[in-house]
Symmetry: C2
């Protein structure tokens, strides 16, 4: 055996950092023309996926501090990509939601990304991709213990 279970999980984790860096480079290049950053794009994605959320709610979904998300939301609002909406559950903490322009921008960006990903990792089967997703979710769940 080449190593214990921990060593094999370590190998998995070691692949993640360059993957995040490289995909961020690709995504950033695609976003440059639109004048938004990867951080701002991450906020757009959460809003597109989970619907209107408060700033702390977005931060929780992304495992980030609310202060940093506040910056991104402010920047996005200044560009007219998100807007505030009254929150029925909390009068002070408004819900942030995508504007039409924000929805259109994210949809376009996202479609482009999906098209690119269709042709990638051609040597991996659907079962292997599903296993990778399961393992990564398990790691995300446990690593913050």
């Amino acid at each position: 055996m080449t190593g214990g279970r921990g060593a094999r999980i370590y190998d998995v984790l070691r692949e993640t950092r360059p993957l995040v860096l490289n995909s961020a480079r690709v995504v950033e290049a695609a976003l440059r023309d639109d004048g938004i950053s990867v951080g701002m794009r991450a906020v757009l994605e959460v809003l597109a996926t989970a619907g209107p959320l408060t700033v702390p709610g977005i931060a929780h979904r992304l495992d980030l501090a609310r202060q940093g998300i506040q910056r991104h939301v402010d920047d996005l609002a200044a560009r007219g990509l998100v807007t505030a909406q009254t929150n029925p559950a909390h009068r002070r903490s408004v819900l942030v939601r995508l504007t039409e322009a924000g929805t259109a921008l994210f949809d376009r960006v996202h479609d482009d990304e999906l098209a690119r990903l269709d042709t990638i990792a051609a040597d991996c089967g659907d079962d292997e991709i599903a296993a990778a997703l399961k393992v990564l979710r398990a790691l995300n769940r446990d690593v913050r213990r």
Copy 2:
């Protein structure tokens, strides 16, 4: 079907960012007492794994610019964890190698990390972890096209 192949690969990629962030937080907390950063630790790992390398060589392995690596190497040298070694293949570009202190530090840190990882993602089988590794490597190989 819930989405095409690209959508499933996208789901995999989406897990990687928080995973990198959270594991970096854990690693950083463990390194704080030793006074080194995650970037410096990454350099130590490359040197421990691949043996003495030049600064551009380390940068290539980590997919980073040589300038940033130079900083980490300088910091590590100032702490006595790495040292220069004459390069038989290139008189000017010296090889960086771990000192005894550097080797001891990385071994200790790495052993601690492996011990933690042994108990993680208990619901994932060895075959699933192997599949995850294969998929991540394929993504790393193709994403920078």
